[in-house]
């Protein structure tokens, strides 16, 4: 067990924070959990609403099997127990964004049980500490609609587009001990969900959000009383909630108060949490099995198919990149942290191997270095994501092939890359049009060298007299005369021959 060093300094000594997260992840699916309405983001209010979602009289939920499949795949990816028998329950409460007056959820028999994931505190530092975070359960439930309070002076409006959208609630064990661990956990979870394709992980669109459970204790003591801060929608905010809530609780306890078990809200503008409701006026949700739905019974075959459909997951991929492709631990970690990066890299790798007619392991290193330093550098500078890259994986592979076959020198390749990034043109076209091709034409190089040696007879003498360092001068002069396009190896060879 890795012991976190994160401590909150209080008047009475150091305090440890204990964090558990309930992550609500929207399941990627075309239709809602219990209706055929679309789940598309950004539609006009109340355009993606079926009669079922609006809870019209006599309407009944019918389970969308794809959502169940995605939840099972997610559970498998989190190394979790798949419950072959699960059931939906009704969670009863009144609110204007909840048309049925109850949310269909899973309390008593969730579809996924215990699991765990490995979290690196710094995903890009492979030597850094790795910690296991337990998953308590995943259950599937419906999302609610949305209230809009800014449309009318005295009334609130309701948008039911999200009503009935499928969510997975992924409940962690209280295994995190610092804001950084909480952040790393969510990043890793998001990475796995994106690999699996069960959630797009877009926190800014509300596809992923977390309820943050925080308590404090003196290291080694029993757990303290926790508060739950609802609906936190970015990793930065999650970390802020942990920091401010832990600080608040320590100050409260040290001032002689006690932490109340309650639901809190985070105000990002003020960077603070505030009480929403306490345990005393907490809802009694009166959960009971939803009689409109049959229990979910999963066959062995269904689970096996779900398992077979899983892609290679980030940890496995990272190990393979290191062990089979010979990438550095750092490169492997960077390339596997996000599914999209790995997908891009693998396309680049496949194209490179094909164009150079070599095994992938022979071209992997160059490809990974180019991707991480050149392309990522360019993307960063331009402030665009890999998805928006002006250079395709095939174009990148072509550029790497031109370097490998000696057509482009390193410096020329950089020039070509800049132009590719600017224009999106193919590297061959750029080389052709701008005449950036590296030349190995010995006749031209020899002619240039002969002229340089003639014009610098004094330096030739000095070199021959033992001033070896002047070799670099001759190379520089030759490259300049050749406008950078001469093959350095050829220049080297001819110069050595001529200078004796």
């Amino acid at each position: 067990m890795v012991v976190s060093e994160y401590r909150i300094q209080g008047a009475t000594g150091d305090w440890e924070v204990v964090i558990g997260l309930e992550v609500h992840a929207q399941i990627t699916s075309n239709a809602k959990l219990f209706s055929g309405a679309s789940t598309e983001f950004g539609a006009e209010p109340n355009c993606n609403v079926s009669l079922v979602d609006a809870a019209m009289p006599g309407m009944l939920p019918v389970m969308n099997g794809e959502c169940i499949r995605q939840a099972v795949r997610t559970g498998l990816a989190l190394n979790a127990q798949i419950n072959r028998w699960s059931r939906f329950d009704r969670k009863n409460y009144f609110y204007a964004d909840l048309p049925q007056g109850y949310q269909i959820s899973q309390l008593f028999h969730p579809i996924v049980g215990e699991g765990e994931i490995e979290v690196s505190l710094d995903e890009k530092d492979p030597e850094g500490t790795v910690k296991k975070i337990g998953i308590e359960r995943i259950h599937v439930e419906q999302d609610a609609g949305k209230l809009m309070h800014d449309q009318h002076p005295t009334m609130s409006y309701v948008d039911l587009n999200r009503s009935g959208v499928a969510l997975m609630e992924i409940v962690s064990r209280p295994d995190m001990r610092s804001p950084a661990e909480a952040g790393a956990y969510v990043r890793k979870l998001r990475s796995i969900l994106r690999y699996v394709g069960s959630c797009d992980g877009n926190m800014e669109q509300g596809s992923m959000r977390a309820d943050v459970n925080v308590s404090v204790r003196k290291p080694g003591d029993e757990f303290g009383i926790r508060t739950e801060t609802k609906n936190v929608n970015s990793i930065r905010f999650i970390q802020q909630v942990v920091e401010t809530e832990a600080r608040r609780q320590v100050d409260l306890i040290e001032d002689g108060g006690t932490v109340v078990q309650e639901t809190r809200l985070f105000d990002p503008d003020r960077g603070e949490t505030r009480s929403m409701r306490s345990k005393e006026d907490a809802h009694d949700y009166r959960y009971f099995p939803d009689p409109d739905l049959l229990p979910i019974e999963l066959s062995e075959e269904f689970v096996a198919d779900a398992r077979a459909s899983l892609p290679e997951l980030p940890d496995d991929k990272r190990h393979r990149y290191e062990n089979e492709l010979g990438l550095s631990a750092y490169n492997a970690a960077v390339l596997t942290a996000e599914a999209e990066t790995a997908r891009w890299f693998e396309a680049l790798l496949a194209e490179s191997a094909k164009k150079q007619d070599k095994p992938e392991s022979d071209v992997a290193k160059a490809a990974s270095n180019w991707l991480i330093s050149d392309l990522f550098g360019g993307l960063n500078k331009a402030g665009v994501t890999l998805e928006e890259s002006p250079i395709s994986a095939a174009q990148g592979a072509e550029l790497l092939a031109l370097v490998a076959d000696g057509t482009l020198s390193g410096p020329l390749a950089k020039q070509v890359f800049e132009i590719m990034f600017e224009t999106g043109d193919d590297p061959e076209k750029i080389v052709e049009e701008k005449g950036l091709k590296q030349t190995s034409d010995t006749g031209a190089i020899e002619a240039a060298i002969a002229e340089i040696l003639e014009n610098n007879a004094d330096k030739v003498e000095e070199y021959k007299g033992g001033k070896d360092k002047l070799f670099g001068f001759f190379i520089g002069q030759t490259m300049k005369a050749m406008q950078g396009k001469a093959n350095p190896a050829v220049v080297n060879q001819i110069l050595k021959d001529k200078l004796g």
């Binding site: 009669l51 009289p57 309407m59 009944l60 049925q100």
Partner: protein, 493 residues
């Protein structure tokens, strides 16, 4: 020829097809009968124009040689079924004025089979009641009167009381009912008609206002077993829109009808002999045994040991489900809304639901809310769910020694309106014979057996194995043939 309004479904269908009368004549006759029976208060809305339109289509279809199963037959539809373009209220104020833009699967199947709709039948509010006294739109008055010379208005039973009264009064030939704990069978018994509660899942619940989802079943009510078989065939079938719907083929029940019970065993559950049961009901029950024996069946005594727990379990499970099912009537999206000056959301809910629900509905929402509450859930809901499992096992065990069970339908004949309205428990006891089979999801039929000393109908119930509607209706047919029940209420309305 008999009056058209005295004909049943099969007779109308066949007479129409045989050209003895047009569908339009049938529709006109029943529309007139409906219009002339306002005193019974059977309908919440009437839709004569719809009945006429369907009749005209039926007449055209006949001319084109293209009739459907129910072409020419007008029906009543219980107001629990949502009907496209026609107000559907479940007899409540909170849904007053609600006009669904959709059709329930069951009513849609009937209309697609060529049936016409005479109107929406009154009922107990949200199907909660056994007397039709909880409707926001007023009591339904049974066409029956006691023969004591008094003129006390009687209950048609409930919750399908508008249905039972309308059929008994011959203002509709047949109609849909729904049964959660006896809401088809008890009113059928009270009014001397036939009602079938099919196996849970036989008929789709899609578009039927939900009372208790794990119990609600639609079924036919008519004046003969055969008519019920014809209607059920049109109503039943798998529906993708109802996850609890059974994916089973729909048999040709009408063709399969046979009152020959040779080789069948009829179980008489000893626990159904309840205290204080009127002598006449006991006598009819024994008479029923004789009739079935006469039809070739063997009579055996069976035990359903957990019967006495069925009613309490039912009155926990049904209200629990109802308390959630009725949460959607909140004034936000449709139906009535009460918005007192300056009210916030919670106050709007409270005002809307206080004004929109009747007393019995509120009572059951409160009971249901209570039994699901933290600290009470295990003692009530979990226990009731366990009892339900035991009841199912009781029936499973009984099926090892018999094919059907014969019981009375209700523990009394129709009572006077108002007689039990101050005593909910006495009212709930009306369901004592019908609730166990509801909890077990089994098919059952109520068939009129005779009249009591006051001249009021008494019914017999046959319960069968899951999916054996055929057997249940066959046993019902055997009773029907031998009972020869031809009594009808004298027209006073």
């Amino acid at each position: 020829m008999a009056d058209i309004i005295d004909l049943g479904v099969a007779e109308i269908r066949d007479g129409f097809r045989g050209g003895q009368f047009s569908a339009r004549e049938v529709a006109d006759a029943f529309n007139d009968a409906v219009a002339g029976a306002e005193a019974l208060n059977c309908f919440i809305v009437t839709t004569p124009e719809k009945a006429i339109k369907a009749a005209e289509e039926a007449d055209r279809a006949l001319a084109a040689g293209d009739v459907a199963a129910l072409s020419g037959v007008p029906l009543g539809i219980k107001d629990l079924f949502c009907t496209k373009g026609v107000q559907s209220t479940a007899a409540s104020h909170i849904l007053e004025g609600f006009v669904p833009p959709y059709e329930s699967t069951v009513s849609g199947k009937l209309l697609a089979a060529g049936a016409g709709m005479l109107g929406k039948l009154n009922m107990d509010q949200f199907a909660m009641g056994s007397s039709n006294e909880t409707s926001y739109f007023g009591n339904v008055i049974s066409p029956w009167k006691r023969n004591d010379g008094g003129n006390a208005p009687l209950s048609p039973g409930g919750s399908s009381g508008g249905t039972s009264a309308a059929i008994a009064a011959h203002i509709v030939p047949a109609a849909t009912g729904t049964d959660t704990g006896g809401s088809i069978r008890q009113p059928a018994a009270f009014t001397g008609i036939v009602g079938v509660k099919p196996t849970y899942g036989r008929c789709s619940r899609f578009g039927i206002v939900a009372f208790a989802s794990s119990l609600d079943q639609a079924g036919p009510m008519a004046r003969s077993v055969k008519d019920c078989a014809i209607l059920l065939e049109a109503m039943a079938g798998y529906d993708l829109h109802d996850a609890t719907s059974l994916d089973e083929p729909v048999p040709n029940w009408e063709a399969g009808l046979s009152s020959d019970l040779k080789g069948k065993k009829i179980g008489i559950p000893k626990e159904y002999r309840v205290d204080d049961m009127p002598e006449e009901i006991d006598a009819l029950w024994k008479q029923g045994e004789e009739w079935l024996r006469d039809a070739g069946a063997e009579i055996v005594e069976v035990s359903l040991p957990h019967t006495k727990y069925a009613l309490p379990a039912y009155y926990i499970i049904a209200p629990a489900e109802a308390s959630a099912n009725l949460a959607r009537y909140d004034g936000v999206r449709y139906g009535q809304r009460e918005l007192p000056e300056g009210a916030n959301l919670q106050e709007m809910y409270a005002a809307t639901r206080a004004a929109g629900f009747g007393d019995e509905v509120k009572r059951r929402i409160m009971i249901g809310t209570y039994v699901l509450s933290a600290g009470f859930y295990d003692a009530y809901y979990t226990q009731a769910a366990k009892v339900r499992t035991l009841i199912v096992r009781d029936f499973d065990a009984a099926w090892e020694s018999c094919d059907y069970l014969l019981t009375p339908t209700a523990p009394s004949a129709a009572f006077g309106l108002g007689d039990l309205s101050d005593d909910p428990i006495a009212m709930y006891l009306n369901d004592v014979f019908t609730v166990p089979s509801s909890l077990a999801g089994l098919p059952a039929i109520a068939v009129p057996g005779g009249l009591n000393g006051q001249g009021l109908p008494l019914g017999l119930q046959v319960i069968g194995k899951a999916l054996d509607e055929q057997g249940v209706m066959n046993a019902g047919l055997a009773l029907e043939e031998r009972a020869g029940f031809t009594h009808r209420a004298e027209k006073w309305w």
